[in-house]
């Protein structure tokens, strides 16, 4: 069970959180003309890197904030966590 530092609450066990996928994905603008291919890339296609991954987590059983986690997908090492409007330090 991972130990994740919520930027709002501090370190908590993984079972308080839910995973929210790749944090680098940007939703297309509303009303934006977008090709089917680009839209499909946004909806379906995700990289599956081995190593450092920037991802979203939601503190569902806590403060209910979404935030960013930089995690190694192979070792589970967490390099940093930050609020949505912040950038990772490492």
């Amino acid at each position: 069970m991972l130990e994740i530092k919520c930027p709002y609450c501090g370190k908590r066990s993984q079972n308080e959180f839910s995973y929210g996928g790749d944090a680098s994905i940007k939703r297309p603008q509303l009303g934006e003309e977008i090709s089917t291919e680009d839209w499909d890339n946004f909806v379906y296609y995700r990289d599956n890197p081995r190593g450092k991954h920037s991802e979203l987590w939601h503190h569902v059983s806590g403060c209910r904030q979404w935030f960013k986690v930089s995690r190694d997908t192979a070792t589970h090492e967490i390099f940093d966590t930050c609020k949505m409007n912040e950038d990772f330090n490492v």
Partner: protein, 999 residues
């Protein structure tokens, strides 16, 4: 022969003043307080404990603790019965009942032993080779045979009556194992101010200090251990846990430990748990788990009475028990000589067989000084004795040590063997540590750590006391310094121990001349040297493949005594060094863990939380039959008299159509939405338009996922300019909230909106039916309930007996209907009030079944249709999709596949005979006589008995549904072997114009 194998000294840890009676295979024996089941049986001369897994060979004790591969027993009876328990780990308690397993009719005479005679038919890979064909034999012949053969103990069929608990702990330093290095590190870390947990599997702290003749400072090892424990006990920053096995090392230094709380207590109090599972999140973990002695492979090395030398010593020193009175010590190293000396201390002269040419170790000399001669350059070739060893064939090894020059038979009643020591690296390995091979000790030791874990002492390959203590004090101090600023190191005291000479790299004896007895490597899985040879001969090279093919190391003991010997043997045949062969992976749990402990208190009603509406007690008092809706308990129907479900549901639904019904809809998800951008946010979340919804009005909304599939639906009302009240389905309430939070926090943080769940703040009561207006007028005389005063989709605030109430004119049943919301605490009162006033309108409560019937007849979609695979078009919600604005998921709707006109869409189905109910999940096909595979047009999502037309009615989602209306098709359920001719009709079966809700 009662306890005739006890030593005469009383320097151990048992209390001979307290007798404990126990039963083994129906015979009553006694042991003493402090005994294990193993030590008490051995003291009573009982060595035959069970039968081996594959060949049903008689087996006794090999070890004294967790390493034991053979001595598994079935404990207790009835609901307390427990299979596959290692007898060396069971503390004796008055009245304990144990029996042998994997044998029939008895352990002395076991029919299955025929497998031993037939053993040439059971080679490695036997199952893979034999059970391949013919295919049809698998279920009927092979599978039951394997099942029976694989049976060890018997799982109890009754519920477990015991209580298990979970506990969460946090500490700076967790020390696993309380031998010299563990105690030293715990003391150093604790004295430096760190919060320390020290875990010991055994009932006594001290590890090897309890059995080794050493001195630390001016104390014996045993005294130093007890002194250190007293110091630790007095420190508030230390938690000491004995009978506690840290069995798993997971990510981010989460370790899991099982504590045997009351198994050793005769009459534990009712609320004392049997076992406790501790989740320990440790800042640093010190792995001081020691080492396990290795057996040696030789002919028939598995007979009862053949034990590890260290086990024999521990039985003598801790349990005051002799494994035999005519011992042979068989070794490739010096440590077994301490066992020899212990026998000599008990006036028993052992025969010593040493594979080495000589040794000048201190213990060896001491033995020689006592006048004992040592058979150097010798090995055991074979043994005899069916149910218990009675003699050994000792051979003189030739210079290559590949064969015996001469052989002699020597009587004995036990063999104490030692093939050297294997560091217990399981936890480090589980933590992700890349092990390295240490050629000096011929074993793997931890190397590159991935987590905050440090192995010390024997677990780290440091086999001397001096090294262990030095590492312990140093590491304990260094690691604790990360957590405290006291900078208070503890110096390692002087210690004295015998010096040891090097072991010989020899773990497998040659075969005796002219014979091919089995030389076992893995006792629990019955894997012999010949099986490993066969696997390699057949081309298996990777150690992982050899492991799986032979099952070496795959038994419950996970190869604690066999893995390394297996590796050594593979490397010998392959002429490779061990690190080239590699090692298999260690996985949790290190020792078996009861399912009860894993589950803890989450059993029965505690398995999941139960959510009850504030009106729940009324439902109970009124005979409701409940159904689980997620965590909620909802009334399914309210049978009257001897009514069955169908008649109750039909009555309840018909009463809504005719008079008025009342339904508890508290479970619907409710979300309070506030902020200046709330209308804009709803406009993006829902497929329809929200900007112009007037204050005081509700609107039905549909929301999609980005992939275009319908996610949820519900009504949302505008309470004031910037304040909305959203309702969701019961099932999706939590997901919708997370979804809204995601878009507000991640995607559109510029929107000034806040959302908050208010599901539990409101109690919702639906009042539906043609008489609902009259009833509500009476309940709320101040409100103008006319169609103009409170039109469809309107809402109004009022009060009932001083309780604030909000009345929505919304309908799920298709009838004229209202929903009354009050604060949760007044839900029950309000419900009762409505029931009371409603009597004169023939009000009746209705449950979820009638609720379903009413919505299905009307063609209202719900979870069965909104199953994550339907877009609005498919379920008749296309009119809800705005063409003018963008919203979540809209772009997906214009994708090619989503715009095909013959997509599966919603229709109604009526059986042609107007009688046969169509099972939900049935497939819809066109031609009943077609040959499989028959094209599937779609499936039945919801079925009910239409109370309006008094015949079955279903909703289905079928290909090109609109153009199928009026056609006859078949609903088939191959599972139930039925095929029902049906007519396709509109899904809006009752009141398709929707005039009733607006009346």
């Amino acid at each position: 022969m009662s306890n005739s194998f006890r030593t005469t000294n009383s320097t151990g840890l048992i209390n001979k003043d307290k007798k404990i009676n126990f039963t083994f295979n129906g015979t009553i024996y006694h042991g003493y307080e402090g005994d294990t089941l193993a030590s008490a049986l051995i003291a009573n001369g009982v060595h035959l404990v069970g039968r081996s897994f594959k060949y049903h060979r008689p087996r006794g004790f090999l070890g004294v603790g967790v390493e034991e591969p053979n001595a598994m027993v079935q404990l207790h009876d009835g609901n307390k019965s427990e299979p596959n328990i290692i007898a060396t780990e069971v503390e004796l308690v008055e009245g304990l009942k144990a029996k042998s397993q994997n044998c029939w009719p008895s352990v002395q005479f076991d029919i299955g032993e025929i497998n031993n005679v037939l053993n040439r038919f059971f080679p490695a890979g036997f199952y893979y080779k034999t059970f391949m064909w013919p295919k049809s034999f698998w279920m009927k012949i092979y599978e039951p045979f394997i099942r029976k053969a694989a049976g060890m103990g018997k799982a109890p069929l009754l519920p477990d009556p015991d209580r298990y608990e979970h506990n969460y702990e946090h500490c700076d330093v967790l020390v696993v194992g309380s031998g010299p290095s563990g105690l030293a590190s715990a003391l150093a870390a604790a004295k430096n101010g760190a919060r320390v947990i020290l875990a010991e599997d055994k009932p006594n702290f001290g590890g090897s200090l309890l059995t080794d003749e050493v001195t630390i400072g001016n104390m014996s090892g045993k005294e130093w251990a007890s002194d250190t424990i007293s110091q630790l006990k007095s420190m508030p920053n230390v938690i000491l846990k004995k009978r506690s096995q840290v069995f798993g090392y997971y990510d981010h230094n989460m370790t899991v430990m099982i504590e045997r709380v009351s198994d050793h207590i005769e009459n534990p109090s009712k609320y004392t748990p049997r076992q406790r599972l501790h989740y320990i999140r440790a800042g640093e973990v010190i792995v001081s788990t020691g080492s396990i002695e290795r057996p040696i492979s030789f002919g028939n090395n598995d007979r009862p009475g053949i034990v590890l030398a260290s086990a024999a010593k521990e039985y003598m020193k801790v349990y005051e028990t002799l494994v035999g009175k005519k011992p042979i010590i068989f070794t490739n190293n010096d440590t077994a000589y301490s066992t020899a000396l212990e026998f000599i201390k008990n006036d028993i002269e052992p025969i010593i067989v040493d594979t080495r040419d000589s040794s000048n170790g201190e213990l060896v000399k001491e033995v020689q000084q006592k006048g004992i001669s040592i058979k150097f350059n010798s090995g055991i070739a074979d043994t005899k004795g069916h149910l218990k060893i009675n003699s050994a064939i000792i051979g003189k090894l030739d210079s290559s040590k590949e064969s015996f020059i001469s052989e002699e038979t020597v009587e004995c009643d036990c063999i104490c063997m030692s093939g050297g020591w294997t560091p217990t690296v399981h936890l480090s390995s589980q933590a992700g540590n890349k092990l390295k091979f240490n050629d000096d000790i011929d074993a793997f030791v931890p190397d590159k750590k991935r987590q905050k874990e440090t192995a010390i002492g024997a677990a780290n390959g440091s086999f001397t006391l001096n090294q262990s203590l030095a590492e312990g004090f140093q590491v304990g101090f260094d690691l604790s310094n990360k957590f405290t600023d006291q900078n208070n190191p503890t110096n390692s005291p002087n210690s004295n121990e015998p010096s040891y000479e090097k072991h010989e790299k020899l773990w497998c004896m040659p075969l005796p001349s002219g014979k091919k007895p089995k030389r076992f490597i893995d006792f629990q899985n019955d894997v012999a040297v010949s099986d490993v040879e066969l696997a390699i001969r057949e081309g298996f090279r990777s150690i992982e493949h050899v492991k799986r093919y032979t099952t070496l190391g795959m038994a419950g003991d996970q190869g604690k005594t066999s893995n390394l010997n297996g590796l050594q043997y593979v490397s010998k045949i392959e002429k490779k060094i061990v690190p080239e062969v590699g090692h298999t992976t260690f996985r949790p749990p290190y020792t078996p863990v009861t399912i009860g402990a894993i589950v803890g208190r989450e059993v029965g009603n505690h398995y999941l939380p139960t959510r009850k509406s504030p009106i729940h007690t009324w439902h109970e008092e009124n005979n409701a039959v409940f159904v689980a809706a997620g965590l909620w308990q909802r009334p399914r129907y309210y049978p009257m008299g001897s009514e069955d479900m169908n008649s109750a549901v039909n009555r309840e639904a018909a009463n809504v159509r005719k008079n008025v019904g009342i339904c508890d809809v508290t479970t619907l998800g409710k979300i309070d939405i506030k902020g200046p951008d709330a209308p804009e946010f709803l406009n993006r979340v829902y497929t329809n338009a929200w900007l112009k919804l007037p204050v005081g009005k509700a609107r039905y909304g549909v929301m999609l996922r980005e992939d275009g599939m319908v996610f949820d639906d519900g009504t949302t009302s505008r309470l004031s300019e910037n304040h909305f009240h959203m309702t969701t389905t019961t099932a999706q309430a939590a997901n919708v909230l997370s979804h809204l939070e995601y878009y507000l926090q991640v995607v559109w943080p510029d929107l000034d909106v806040n959302v908050l769940s208010t599901t539990e703040q409101w109690s919702g009561i639906a009042v539906a039916g043609p008489k609902s207006r009259d009833l509500l007028s009476k309940l709320f005389p101040d409100v103008d309930m006319s169609n103009e005063g409170l039109p469809f989709m309107g809402l109004v605030d009022s009060s009932i007996d001083g309780i604030k109430a909000r009345i929505y004119r919304i309908s799920f049943s298709g009838e004229l209907a209202y929903e009354v919301n009050v604060e949760s605490n007044y839900g029950l009162y309000t419900w009762k009030k409505i029931m009371e006033v409603g009597q004169s309108f023939d009000i009746q409560p209705y449950g979820t079944e009638a609720l379903s019937t009413l919505r299905i007849e009307m063609g209202h979609v719900a979870g069965a249709e909104l199953d994550g695979r339907t877009i609005p078009f498919d379920v008749g919600l296309n009119s809800m999709v705005s063409q003018k604005k963008d919203f979540i998921g809209k772009r997906s709707l214009s994708k090619d596949a989503f715009t095909e006109s013959d997509r599966q869409t919603i229709v109604g189905l009526v059986p042609l005979d107007k009688k046969t109910k169509i099972p939900e999940g049935s497939h819809i096909i066109e031609d009943n006589s077609a040959v499989a595979p028959i094209p599937k047009l779609g499936h039945v999502s919801s079925s009910c008995w239409s109370v309006e037309y008094n015949n079955p009615f279903s909703i289905a989602i079928i290909k090109d549904g609109k153009n199928k209306i009026g056609k006859n098709l078949y609903a088939v359920s191959p599972l139930k072997d039925i095929s029902i001719p049906v007519e396709v009709v509109s899904s809006h079966y009752v009141d398709p114009e929707g005039s009733r809700v607006r009346s």
